[in-house]
């Protein structure tokens, strides 16, 4: 009853190609942004910021990057974490070696470097596809991390390899508390998500989708596969690079290769699968799910321990978590293969007709 676009007429081309053509969607988005920018910072606890909200937002950004590549351009990649690592380490080096560089410029620089690396490792996609490509991107994962560990220049010849990230400051204003970090991350993620949303519904996004659906046909109708694929790798790696820099600076506080292992790549891939491949919304839903799930599981195990006095040892608890995590992923894939974003779509359709059956 409330969610219905009847009576909303579009009288100009601008209105017709608006990013959110339905008024209720616009109101909803504004509400979400108000909650995220105003209400959450005023109410949430520091623990909530640093354990949930910040990683969730940062990983959404990485998932968004992977989704552009895998969901829209159809190129399966398992090297996401490595591109994040490039972003983090290059941002570190920009801040370290270029005196007085603005923080955001350093992050963007990290992203651009990640994009360059992404193009190099995207080159094989011109010849190979599918799982062969996925395995080939594993080369990026292992090679880049090895490079970052072995080449001393990247870590500024730090013997331990774990570097403390420089404090974040924009125009002299330092982002120290979890709350401030959250707001910085949120602003960056909002801007980049908006850019992604616009990209995928424009010329570039349509080229990517054409390549994804059938590359030979796309080539025949005049899309240059090399340009489109490499652009997808570049844009995706840029997003991942910025996410990686934020991951190091706003979340971990350290820059270390170990944080960007294969496990992280897989987790980000899970996010887009569970959230919904080829949707911008899915990246956010999926990352919320994957970040919250382990925490919820460990809280659940602790709760069972306390209330039922089961005395589950921690090793059993962690293995149970692993099993439930794996089991839930399989369950989700079976029940809703198109991801959480699809559930939202279905809900929207239902809402449109509610309270009538049809």
């Amino acid at each position: 009853m409330l969610y219905r676009e009847a009576g909303q007429f579009k009288s100009s081309y601008a209105a017709d190609s608006a990013i959110l053509p339905i008024r209720q969607d616009r109101i909803g988005l504004v509400l979400i942004l108000v909650v995220a920018f105003v209400i959450v910072p005023l109410t949430a606890s520091p623990y909530l910021f640093s354990a949930l909200l910040i990683p969730c937002l940062i990983l959404s950004l990485a998932a968004l990057g992977l989704n552009l590549l895998t969901g829209y351009a159809g190129q399966l990649s398992l090297g996401t974490a490595a591109f994040m690592a490039v972003g983090a380490f290059m941002s570190y080096n920009f801040i370290l070696r270029v005196p007085g560089i603005p923080l955001l410029l350093a992050f963007a620089g990290g992203g651009v470097m990640a994009a360059a690396v992404g193009i190099v490792f995207g080159l094989p996609s011109l010849r190979i596809r599918g799982f062969y490509l996925a395995v080939a991107t594993l080369a990026a994962q292992f090679f880049i991390l090895w490079c970052l560990t072995k080449v001393g220049w990247f870590t500024n010849y730090n013997p331990s390899g774990v570097i403390t990230a420089q404090p974040m400051a924009i125009l002299g204003y330092a982002f120290d508390t979890p709350q401030e970090k959250y707001l910085l991350v949120l602003s960056i993620v909002t801007v980049m998500a908006l850019a992604a949303k616009n990209m995928v519904r424009g010329n570039i996004g349509r080229q990517w989708m054409a390549i994804r659906d059938m590359d030979v046909a796309a080539e025949v109708i005049g899309i240059r596969p090399m340009r489109a694929k490499l652009l997808a790798f570049a844009v995706s790696s840029f997003y991942c690079g910025v996410a990686g820099a934020l991951f190091a600076y706003a979340y971990l506080g350290t820059v270390e290769p170990e944080a960007y292992n294969l496990d992280l790549s897989f987790r980000i891939l899970f996010m887009i699968i569970i959230g919904g491949v080829g949707t911008v919304l899915g990246a956010f839903l999926g990352s919320a799910f994957i970040v919250v799930l382990p925490i919820a599981l460990s809280v659940g195990v602790a709760f069972l321990n306390n209330t039922l006095r089961l005395n589950i040892p921690s090793s059993v608890g962690s293995n149970l978590e692993l099993m439930v995590f794996g089991g839930l992923i399989i369950f989700f894939l079976i029940v809703e293969p198109h991801g959480l974003a699809r559930i939202w779509q279905i809900t929207k359709e239902k809402l449109r007709l509610w309270p009538f059956p049809y």
Binding site: F131, V135, A136, A217, V220, G326, I329
Partner: protein, 297 residues
């Protein structure tokens, strides 16, 4: 030169061990088009179950039998509860499901048997063979040679199974064309169950050998990652490809580590196979023996 041959032979023999893991991947990919990331976990599960049973005092043979049954059961369960509901889903969904599956199996294995590192003794010592070492001065590990022998027997058995038995022929038919196989009355789901059971058996063999070599520990699951470049080198759907790919990867990896490693700081074993496979793919996108894919609009 002597040293070169020693490294080469050592590499080739360890390549055989990679092939064993890759073989499990190929079997499943061939029959059902599923890229089974959980193969490494199956290897881990098999080794851990076997060691756990031995610790409970079961004799070698009985433990082997029980583990084999457990692996077959596990394979059947996976087919029934994971793959069957996911029929007709895109390949990437199936791939993700097997990653989820690998978490599940790893958790289950450690829940049942604990996470300690254990030794596994299958009665073959890891010592140089005297009759090769004495005249030529090249050390060849007895264990590696035995592992290669076991792999050879296994591959021969599988080859015979595929080409001579009724089930084997049905398997090849399914691999060739699901629809056509269904049309001539081959029970697809039974075939898939059998494939998973066979993959469980291969995982058991690989698990015993790898476990005896490196100790039974969580790191066994990473063996699967080593098998991936073998797969792309050999082609996902080719049994001989898995063997030849394993040999190439094993040999070049060891040679690169010994001759190239010192110049770049070592530790290149981790990525060298991937980069090698990547360069190789640029020349032959479907691997050494993979089926050539013809695409039409």
């Amino acid at each position: 030169m002597q040293f070169f041959f020693e490294v080469l032979i050592g590499g080739l023999l360890s390549g055989v061990m990679y092939s064993l893991v890759a073989l499990g991947f190929v079997l499943i990919y061939k029959a059902s088009g599923v890229f089974n990331f959980a193969q490494g976990s199956l290897v881990f599960f098999a080794a851990l179950t076997f060691v756990g049973l031995m610790e409970h005092g079961l004799p070698f043979g009985l433990a082997l039998l029980v583990t084999l049954l457990a692996m077959i059961l596990l394979g059947l369960l996976i087919e029934k509860f994971v793959l069957r509901p996911l029929v007709n889903q895109p390949q990437i969904s199936l791939f993700m499901a097997t990653i989820g599956l690998s978490f599940l199996i790893e958790g289950l294995a450690q829940l049942l048997w604990g996470a300690n590192v254990r030794g596994l003794d299958i009665g073959i010592q890891d010592e140089p063979l005297a009759w090769i070492a004495d005249p030529t001065g090249i050390n060849v590990s007895k264990f590696d040679l035995a592992a290669a022998g076991i792999a050879a027997v296994l591959v021969t058995m599988l080859a015979l199974f595929f080409s001579r038995t009724r089930i084997g022929r049905a398997l090849r038919a399914v691999a060739d064309d699901h629809q056509a196989a269904l049309a001539v009355g081959i029970p697809l789901q039974q075939i898939w169950a059998i494939v998973w059971a066979v993959a469980g058996f291969v995982a058991l063999v690989a698990g015993l050998l790898w476990g005896a070599r490196n100790g039974v520990q969580f790191a066994l699951t990473f063996v699967a990652l080593k098998a991936l470049p073998v797969l792309i080198l050999g082609g996902f759907d080719s049994v001989p490809g898995a063997i030849v790919g394993g040999l190439i990867i094993g040999a070049t990896e060891k040679l690169a580590e010994v001759y190239l490693g010192p110049y770049v700081g070592g530790g290149i074993e981790g990525w060298f196979p991937y980069v090698l496979a990547l360069i190789f793919l640029l020349v032959r996108p479907e691997g050494l023996f993979g089926e050539k894919i013809i695409r039409r609009i």
